[in-house]
Amino acid sequence: MAVQTSQALAVSEIAPRTNELRRFTRVFFKRWVVALGLVILLLVFIAAIFAPWIAPYDPYKIATGGALEQPSAKHWLGTDRIGRDTLSRVIFGSRVALEVGFITVAVASIIGVSLGMIAGYFGGPFYIIIMRAVDALMCFPGLILFMFLSAMLGNGVRNVIIALSIGTIAQYVRVMCGLTLSLKQNDYILAQVSIGAPRFRTMVQHILPNAFPPLIVLMTMQLGTLILAEAALGFLGMGIVPPTAAWGSMVNDSYVYLQTNPWLCFAPGICIFLVVFSFNMVGDGLRDALDPRLRGLL
């Protein structure tokens, strides 16, 4: 009996040969919400890329109809206080949201991952200085820090991207530092050290690729968080301000007409929710497909 059990275990321990890509897609699409998230994201991307062709009106053209019109066949979501078409503005708003999200993630992750890797790999004073600075940044709740930084930098798309990047670097540093510390213990890194490989090469060629799966998941989820943060700033009248068509500032702009024209507020608000939801779901799916051990950590 005991022999049989151990044999059975031995057999099941050998992983069956699988096609990695097929396994990835199977796990990724197992939950229907993940697939839904991906579909929504695709639609938003299409809307952002083909905005000038999809949008029925010019989002900046004043008085395409009367001011504050109710939703109708001509203006599906009505018009705002100076007669601009809400639907067109919402479609163009996806451009700003995605632009801010992707550029910020790129900037923050490049800086954050490098700093985290340096702190984790070299340790000593590098670790102490970098990680205490990260602690100081993380003392501020996200939104407060973003407001603080964007007040310093002023308004506009570029400044919002800088403010959000500085504000989110800490996350990447923390995750990357932890990953580097644990990866450093592996034999293949020790082997690199023992043959006297340059430290820069060890970090870039051996630590970075192995830290990639959790980083990809973190970056996907950050996209949602950043779009939410940008919208919150816009809602507070900071960051990306009118006339640029951005969802957050549209909500801020139309908030006073909530009683009479609720769709002016609801439409951009629901778009923010859908995009954030989709990025989170896709991030969840990626996590399960790339490395299920990260569940609960990221």
């Binding site: 501020f140 007040a151 930098l153 609720p262 609801f266 939801f277």
Partner: protein, 316 residues
């Protein structure tokens, strides 16, 4: 244990110093010098007046002198004098802090008590209707922008149903019934995120705990469900939730900024927004420092209380 606390305190002190430097430097890099802006705002651009005010606020002194004089005043409880509100920051804080604390405490209670209860019930009734709605609902609440939630609440319960007021917030000792009616919607708006996170964390840690041997032993002794869950399982499954409750303070501050803006509540969050818009750098500087230090303190308490809650955790 004692050594750990000392080391943790020293680390927190270092971080606090970094926080003050960060706040101080950011303010000094504001695009437009606040004094100039203020003088322009009063209508007549007067070089002498700018110089006078700069001197009065000590802005013509070297940066490190300004930094140390600011710190030494703050330590003594002197937060300076607001440019725009024309009042001392301490007076402003005396009016604003109780409002935010009231709102924050109510929403912390909601998010902790309701979140933990829902998470616990979902775990012990696994697969039943409550469990099936907890995960999707918490995802929705995490992704929903809090201003959108606030706007929905105002539209449905304030504007259409006329059930609740959605403007201003008075303190309970000023007008109790009005204050309770006013706090409901902002508190829901502010606690939603924390509630979702607590419920999700509680559910997963409870599921982990009720599979443990000692819980099975408790069941096999024939104890009732109430005693097994509340006396044996609950305490241990609360450990990971403590961190989240600590983080909840940060969520409250960030939430206060949005919630107080939507519901026009005169609290610290609203003050922060108006002062950033009005470039009132002294108030912004003090508020940022207060937010940062409170969160630093809470994190410190969470870390220290960990070793007390869970003696298995050893620090060396």
């Amino acid at each position: 244990m004692g050594a750990f606390i000392v080391r943790r305190l020293l680390m927190a002190l270092l971080v606090l110093i970094l926080v003050t430097i960060l706040v101080f430097m950011v303010i000094r890099f504001l695009p437009l010098d606040p004094i100039t802006l203020y003088v322009i705002g009063t209508g007549n651009m007067d070089e002498a007046r700018i110089q006078f005010l700069n001197h009065q606020y000590g802005l013509d002194r070297p940066l490190y002198v300004q930094y140390f004089s600011w710190i030494s005043k703050v330590v003594r409880g002197d937060f300076g004098y607001s440019l725009v509100a024309k009042d001392s920051v301490s007076t402003l804080l005396k009016q604003r802090v109780p409002v935010t604390m009231y709102l924050g405490i109510v929403s912390m209670i909601i998010s902790t008590v309701v979140g933990i209860t829902i998470g616990m019930l979902a775990a012990i009734r696994r697969g039943k209707w409550l469990d099936n709605i907890v995960s999707p609902l918490s995802v929705v609440l995490v992704c929903l922008p809090s201003f959108l939630l606030g706007i929905f609440l105002i539209y449905i319960f304030g504007m259409k149903a006329h059930w609740l007021p959605f403007h201003d917030l008075v303190l309970p000792w000023q007008n109790f019934t009005l204050s309770i009616r006013q706090v409901i919607m902002p508190a829901i708006c502010m606690s939603a995120l924390g509630l979702a996170m607590n419920a999700r964390q509680m559910r997963s840690s409870m599921l982990e705990i009720i599979r443990q041997d000692y819980v099975r032993t408790a069941w096999s002794k024939g104890l009732t469900e109430r005693i097994v869950i509340l006396k044996h399982a609950l305490k241990n499954s609360l450990i990971p939730v403590v961190t989240l409750v600590g983080m909840g303070v940060g969520v409250v501050f960030a939430g206060a900024v949005i919630t107080e803006t939507i519901f026009s509540i005169p609290g610290m969050g609203r003050l922060f927004v108006t002062c950033i818009q009005g470039q009132d750098y002294i108030v912004v500087q003090d508020l940022a420092l207060i937010f940062g230090s409170v969160i630093l303190l809470v994190n410190l308490l969470v870390d220290i209380s960990y070793s007390w809650i869970d003696p298995r955790i050893r620090y060396d």
